[in-house]
């Protein structure tokens, strides 16, 4: 990078801010980043206006870490802007990588979401008809809001992405490792998933695996889980068999089943379909009625299987009309 300081931006689209906190979770390393880099835009932490970014030359930024999905026209506008201004664009965290938690909104339509959020919700004024509009006229002035899209997109649906750093949020040590690689200038092939492993999470999980035979699914709060045995073998739905390693298996180590935030393993397109395949094939029954009864223990399997990856899945959204 010569003597020039690295020029970086961090941005949040449709996200929760947890990814920004994950950057801060690198602790004192963030001070090294500050010493090595000029942070040109980081809405959650430093002052900066979109206009400042617009005034930059194309490619002036070395790196943008973009977290959050693309839910509205503002998310897309800034994604395109930062893409133009940045040499490297990293989809940071599950939402930018695969759509993430906001992507679960793709199980509903925009109309259903508006109805639930603004029109028929127990906590709003009865009879409310006010919903966000992209254009509103007030006293002769035209006011604009970002347009709410029909569905959620992942970052690479709208712009070219150089690297994907998965996780909800990415593990701090992985964030640090990726930043160090970028600073070193020895870059992995474009399109790589970085800051993660290339095996299954179960491979990284230290719980004892025996033969899996599931007679009953149970929610984590329904049992005192054995601290050593595989959670799935105890009937607790765990996304480990369909999830990429790299997080250090911190959830199952803490008796919390894997939720799949690191996304599918290399070569896998649809994480939900793989989890479905893995989980159901170990059900211990040959009787269709009993199988149905066992599966009733999974009240929202679709939401679990695609918790972070619905917009990146094969069907991407509900196609209900």
């Amino acid at each position: 990078m010569g003597g020039r300081k690295l020029q970086i931006a961090l941005y949040w689209g449709a996200g929760c801010g947890g990814c920004d906190v994950a950057v801060l979770d690198t602790n004192e390393f963030i001070l090294d980043v500050a010493a090595l880099a000029d942070i040109r835009l980081w809405p959650i932490a430093v002052d900066g206006k979109y206009r400042d970014v617009e005034e930059m030359a194309d490619g002036e930024l070395d790196l943008t870490l973009f977290n959050g999905a693309v839910r509205n026209s503002e998310n897309e506008h800034i994604a395109r802007l930062l893409r133009r201004k940045s040499r490297l664009l990293v989809a940071f965290g599950s939402c930018a990588h695969m759509g993430g938690i906001p992507g679960l909104a793709n199980l509903a339509t925009k109309e259903e979401i508006y109805d639930r959020a603004y029109l028929h919700n127990p906590s709003i004024e009865p009879g409310n008809t006010t919903v966000p509009l992209a254009q509103t006229s007030v006293n002769g002035y035209s006011l604009e809001l970002p347009r709410f899209y029909q569905r959620v997109f992942k970052l690479d649906d709208v712009v070219d992405v150089d690297y994907y750093l998965p996780g909800c949020p990415p593990a701090a040590d992985q964030v640090r490792a990726v930043l160090e690689v970028i600073v070193s200038g020895v870059l992995p092939p474009k399109g790589s998933v970085v800051g993660a492993g290339d095996r299954g999470l179960c491979d990284e999980c230290t719980r004892t695996k025996a033969e899996k035979k599931i007679k009953e699914f149970r929610r984590p709060w329904q049992i005192m889980a054995d601290p050593e045995a595989c959670l799935l073998e105890q009937g607790i739905l765990c996304a480990g068999p369909a999830t990429r390693s790299g997080c250090g298996a911190r959830c199952p180590t803490s008796s919390i089943p894997c939720r799949g935030c690191y996304g599918p393993m290399p070569g896998v397109v649809d994480q939900g379909a793989k989890l479905l395949s893995a989980v159901t094939s170990v059900i211990d029954s040959k009787d269709p009625d009993e199988i149905d009864a066992i599966l009733a223990g999974l009240p929202d399997f679709t939401g679990y299987a695609y918790r972070f990856s619905l917009p990146a899945s094969l069907l991407q959204r509900s196609v209900r009309s």
Binding site: A273, L276, I283, T302
Partner: protein, 185 residues
């Protein structure tokens, strides 16, 4: 993602599968009484991707063929070694690529060439159907049936029945809906 390993995205798509023109279809149906499911010119001819296990169902479909049992030319058969080989991904992929229906056939319970394979299918299928319902896929589009090697007639009837149901349902909107999403953004 730019992984080196081949992915499902590299598999042939439904569009790559050979299509049978309506007139060819009609020519293969030698009994006029059975012509109805193949459709008059201009009517909607569903495209069904059929995943058939090698040992029972594919042999059953083969029997339908060698017995010259007429049935709707709407199914494109993909032979797999066992119904358990049918990764739910295959079903989603077929639907996303524009298949109007997916038919999964395996050996009857107890008859699996590999002892237990079709039981795995039996366990996956109900949850797959629930997932598809959550994603707005109509019930008639995906179907699991057990077809033995001697059930050529049953296979033919099954394809006819599914074809009729899909014709009543109309073409799948999935592929166009996904393309429209990106255009309308």
């Amino acid at each position: 993602m730019n992984e080196d390993r081949p992915t499902v995205a590299d598999l042939p798509t439904v569009a790559d599968l050979p299509t049978v023109a309506d007139d060819q279809t009609a020519a293969r149906v030698d009994r006029p009484a059975r012509r109805a499911p193949t459709g008059a010119a201009g009517s909607f001819q569903p495209r069904i991707v059929g995943f058939l296990c090698n040992w029972c169902s594919y042999a059953g479909a083969d029997l339908a063929g060698t017995s010259r049992t007429p049935y709707a030319a709407s199914v494109r058969v993909i032979r797999v070694m066992c119904s358990a080989r049918i990764d739910p991904t295959f079903v989603l992929k077929a639907l996303a690529e524009g298949a109007d229906g997916v038919l999964i056939c395996g050996c009857h319970p107890g008859d699996c060439h590999y002892s237990e394979g079709n039981y795995k299918t039996m366990r996956r299928y109900p949850l797959l159907k629930r997932m598809l319902a959550d994603l707005g896929i109509e019930d008639a589009r995906v179907r699991l049936e057990w077809v033995s090697a001697s059930e050529g007639q049953r296979f033919a009837d099954l394809v006819d029945d599914m074809t009729q149901r899909l014709r009543a349902l109309g073409p799948s909107r999935i592929k166009t809906a996904l393309a429209t999403d990106h255009a309308e953004r």
